[in-house]
């Protein structure tokens, strides 16, 4: 990103610059200045496009209706539209249609938000943490151990379990940061490898006498003591205090990245490591620090399925693929904590609603994954979205690497 960063040196000295107009300090620092509309337009259209593609998929996979197109297209159209309508209505009702639906949405969103923050912190500092999945598993195991092996009052037990998850996740991710700082090993490679190590380590640990439930031969752990289980919120079914931890994490990450010297270093090094080094920042330390913060957030995310979900036990691969969905989510949220919060809730809604869609409309839950994947493709290729919706691209954006470096 070094060379392409001079969109237009032509702005002249007296005239206003072409791209960003004056913004409030707050707006700029928070990252949501006058460009808020622009920042939202691509994600919003990506979601819309994904829903349209999903509708097409529902239509062409409706085997009962397909033959009808030849004989009675009008009826086929009516049936197809009603099928799509039914599916999306179920998706809507299942995600926000009732108090129960909303609680399910927020419940599903909780680990997604935390894991998304983990990826976003990395992105902001120029690091690609693919290892959130492994860090979640390691963090979850630490929380699990504190959860079942100790008996303490809940107000100490829960924070202690989470602290253990934070430590474990931070250390696990810190390994990749340390390797990068010391040897230059690329974090993408090391975090991917550490994912495998983490997954198999979990399987191994779950079969050792330390973790394994007594009388069981399969990899399943003891149950977390009641004092370490996340209390659910009254009248909100499964929604528990984990959601508030995720909100706290959003606020903390926002403060850290935009209001602290640490975040300033993270972002400076993320944009330009050379510049950071010249300005006296310890780039190696920043890499370790970023990974540790990212891993800590992943650790809390990993504690959720252990401390906040029946049966409160560790099983093989208990954190699922949340760590990978989180990459998509961070992209959708533009790596901004508030963006990640909303992206997490959206993905949570898709999950909660997807179950309803499967039950009520018979559309497989996997369609939700297809929708998610489409959203990501669109986000990753903003030009595609712009092309589909014929949004005029500002000239500055097309400045290619070839055009930079002119003396003029």
């Amino acid at each position: 990103m070094s060379d392409g960063e001079q969109p237009l040196d032509e702005s002249g000295q007296v005239e206003p610059p072409p791209v960003a107009g004056p913004q409030s300090t707050l707006g700029r620092i928070v990252g949501i200045g006058s460009s808020l509309r622009q920042a939202l337009v691509v994600p919003a259209l990506a979601v819309l496009t994904a829903l349209i593609v999903g509708a097409v998929i529902i239509a062409v996979t409706d085997l009962d209706t397909l033959p009808l197109w030849g004989t009675d297209p009008g009826e086929a159209f009516r049936l197809t539209m009603s099928g799509i309508g039914k599916a999306y209505k179920a998706l809507f009702v299942g995600s926000v249609g009732s108090r129960r639906a909303i609680s399910e949405t927020l419940f599903a969103a909780t680990p997604l938000i935390l894991a998304g923050l983990a990826v976003a912190v990395g992105f902001q500092a120029g690091l690609f943490n693919i290892g959130v999945n492994g860090q979640m598993h390691i963090g979850g195991m630490a929380a699990l151990w504190v959860g079942f092996s100790l008996t303490l009052p809940a107000f100490i037990h829960i924070p202690l379990a989470i602290a253990a998850a934070i430590m474990a996740g931070a250390i696990w991710a810190g390994i990749a940061g340390f390797l990068k700082a010391r040897t230059g090993a690329h974090e993408v490679i090391t975090t991917i490898m550490l994912n495998f190590v983490a997954l198999f380590l979990v399987d191994y640990l779950l079969k050792t006498s330390v973790f394994q439930a007594t009388g069981r031969n399969d990899p399943i752990s003891e149950k977390v003591n009641a004092t370490a289980q996340f209390p659910t919120l009254p009248t909100f079914d499964r929604l528990n205090i984990g959601f508030f931890f995720s909100l706290l994490a959003v606020a903390f990450v926002w403060w850290l990245m935009y209001r602290s010297t640490i975040g300033f270093e993270f972002r400076a090094v993320g944009f330009n490591p050379h510049g950071g080094r010249y300005a006296g920042m310890n780039v190696a330390w920043v890499y370790v620090g970023v990974m540790a913060v990212s891993g800590a957030l992943a650790g809390i995310a990993g504690a959720n399925p252990i401390l906040g979900l029946e049966p409160y036990r560790g099983t093989s691969g208990f954190a699922g693929t949340i760590g990978f969905d989180a990459i998509a989510l961070a992209l959708l949220g533009r790596s901004h904590p508030i963006g990640v919060l909303f992206a997490g809730i959206l993905f949570g809604a898709l999950r909660a609603g997807g179950r309803e869609m499967q039950g009520a409309a018979g559309v497989p839950l996997d369609l939700v994954l297809v929708l998610q994947a489409f959203i990501i493709v669109m986000i990753a290729a903003p030009r595609l979205v712009r092309a589909i919706y014929r949004i005029k691209t500002p000239d500055q954006d097309v400045s290619t690497t070839i055009s930079t470096g002119w003396g003029g």
Partner: protein, 516 residues
């Protein structure tokens, strides 16, 4: 100035007529006219932000003009991509070469336009033959089998020229072609350009070096604030006249300063040895002193160890041996942060790569190396209000032309970006200034300003070390001049030495010059 060259339409020429390019909020080109005929060299002069880049990007098919036409031989053409421009006979030699370092010359030349035998087999023999032919025709002296990364910059530039010629360009555009060359290479380059001209090529030479434009061009076109403000013949003007046309007011090309009054030694470097990234000893036993109240300039052709000296002095590169004393204190192994705390101001040689974080605002860049100090932060808590206030004060004090401190620094012109760095570095009780290429690629007005600020720091009692590959700049600023050649100090001169003497030292010694 009047139009001094009129061309009839049937002449073979490239013409940009009435080109206007409107960006949101900025008129980058405003009714610009430029013609170049076959066998003619036109110099395009202008400060940063004058609109040269936009104009050339339009010519090369990267931008579409808001209005106006590009025509070749009187016929209007429309370029939608660089490919269209190349097919129409336009060739560009960029400032930063677009070569694959591990490929050979021949491979680079055919890249993107590979000659093939049957069933798509690469015709290497033909590629080599093409290179040899072009090389001989223009006496370029390039070996088709040499690997790019082994070649000096001057030869790499010739490879770029061959690339353009291989695609049968009729009109060649050179972007700041001499900025990367040694004085000897510049001479060679001018010979090549002359032979291209003799062969009937039309040449556009983009530059900010007034002397070179006067020497090589048949015609000089000057742009200012998006407009072509003048078109002159070299015989009609001198450098001061050109500078005035570029800037729009009389420009003082000399630096106003009084006699130096050196006091205590601030920086003492003894027998410094430094390795570069490829573990070559590029600084080999360098010793010198810089006193409070004097400006010491290090001259030399780029790549003779100056960069590494600066990196070692500022804590960015660990020396292999030797000592660095700052006010008597051993700072040989100090980190950049420690040097900053010791009140060393550092203006790095590449402002975009090292001096700034381009996606940050002006304010964020102004606190980039002092954010950890009070009042900008307490503990780990940043005080953005304090940072904002400091930025507003410095932008005003250092004449940074920006609509506000919350504008991204990437939107500023090169000169104003440099002023942001100077403001950040000089806004403290500076003991030592280390400035590397302090005015590279910036406009005349900013150069004047930064030079005067450097002299001011000297007069306030700072020791100043300037490193520049522009001999004129070194001579204008320095009270004492050191010349580096192949990692050693090859000569020391006082500020009044002649450029010939220094120029010889830059090439090693007088004997070696004769031998080469």
């Amino acid at each position: 100035m009047s139009l001094v060259w009129s061309l009839s339409e049937d002449l073979l020429e490239l013409a940009l007529t009435g080109i206007t390019k409107q960006f949101p909020g900025v008129l980058a080109n405003d009714d610009v006219n430029l013609t170049v005929s076959e066998g003619e060299i036109v110099a395009l002069l202008g400060e940063n932000g004058a609109g040269k880049t936009t104009l050339m990007n339009i010519l090369y098919g990267l931008y579409r003009p808001t209005s106006g036409t590009v025509s070749i031989d009187g016929k209007p053409v429309e370029f939608h991509s660089p490919g269209d421009a190349i097919n129409a006979g336009i060739g560009m030699v960029h400032q930063h070469f677009m070569l694959v370092p591990v490929f050979t010359v021949a491979e680079n030349v055919i890249l993107g336009d590979e000659p093939t035998k049957r069933i798509g087999i690469l015709d290497r023999a033909r590629a080599r033959k093409t290179v040899t032919e072009i090389s001989r025709r223009y006496s370029l002296d390039v070996d088709p089998d040499a690997t790019i990364e082994d070649l000096p910059v001057g030869i790499q530039q010739r490879v770029e020229i061959i690339k353009v010629l291989e695609r049968e360009a009729r009109f060649l555009v050179f972007d700041e072609p001499t900025s990367v060359l040694t004085p000897a290479e510049v001479e060679g380059f001018f010979e090549i350009v002359s032979s291209l001209k003799a062969d009937g090529k039309g040449i556009v030479f983009i530059s900010h070096k007034l002397g070179e434009a006067l020497e090589i061009a048949d015609r000089i076109v000057i742009m200012r604030r998006g407009k072509t403000v003048a078109e002159v013949l070299p015989s009609q003007v001198d450098e001061a006249g050109l500078a005035e046309l570029m800037v729009g007011r009389p420009v003082d090309l000399t630096v106003d300063k009084t006699e130096a009054d050196p006091k205590d030694v601030v920086l003492a470097v003894e027998h410094l040895m430094v390795l570069d990234d490829r573990n070559r000893r590029v600084v080999d036993g360098v010793s010198f002193e810089v006193r409070s109240g004097e400006i010491v300039g290090i001259a030399g052709v780029q790549g003779n160890g100056q960069t590494e000296v600066v990196e070692a002095l500022t804590g960015l590169r660990t020396p292999l041996g030797g000592t660095v004393l700052l006010n008597g204190k051993d700072m040989t192994l100090a980190t950049p942060r420690e040097m900053h705390k010791a009140n060393v101001a550092h203006v790095p040689e590449d402002r975009q790569k090292s001096g700034l974080v381009l996606p940050f605002t002006v304010a964020e860049n102004i606190v980039l190396n002092s954010y950890y100090e009070k009042p900008l932060s307490r503990g780990v808590r940043m005080d953005w209000d304090a940072a904002h206030d400091q930025a507003v004060r410095l932008v005003d004090e250092y004449d940074v032309r920006t609509p506000g401190v919350d504008v991204l620094v990437s939107n500023l012109s090169g000169g104003n970006q440099q002023k942001v760095i100077v403001a950040r570095e000089f806004d403290r009780d500076v003991a030592l200034v280390i400035a590397s290429q302090p005015t590279r690629g910036i406009d005349v007005g900013s150069i004047e300003y930064i030079h005067s600020r450097i002299v001011e720091e000297r007069d306030l009692g700072a020791a100043v070390l300037i490193v520049s590959s522009e001999l004129d700049e070194i001579m204008a600023l320095s009270d004492r001049i050191l010349v580096m050649y192949e990692g050693k100090i090859a000569g020391e001169f006082d500020g009044s030495a002649s450029s010939t003497e220094i120029g010889l030292a830059m090439l090693g010694s007088a004997d070696e010059v004769e031998a080469s």
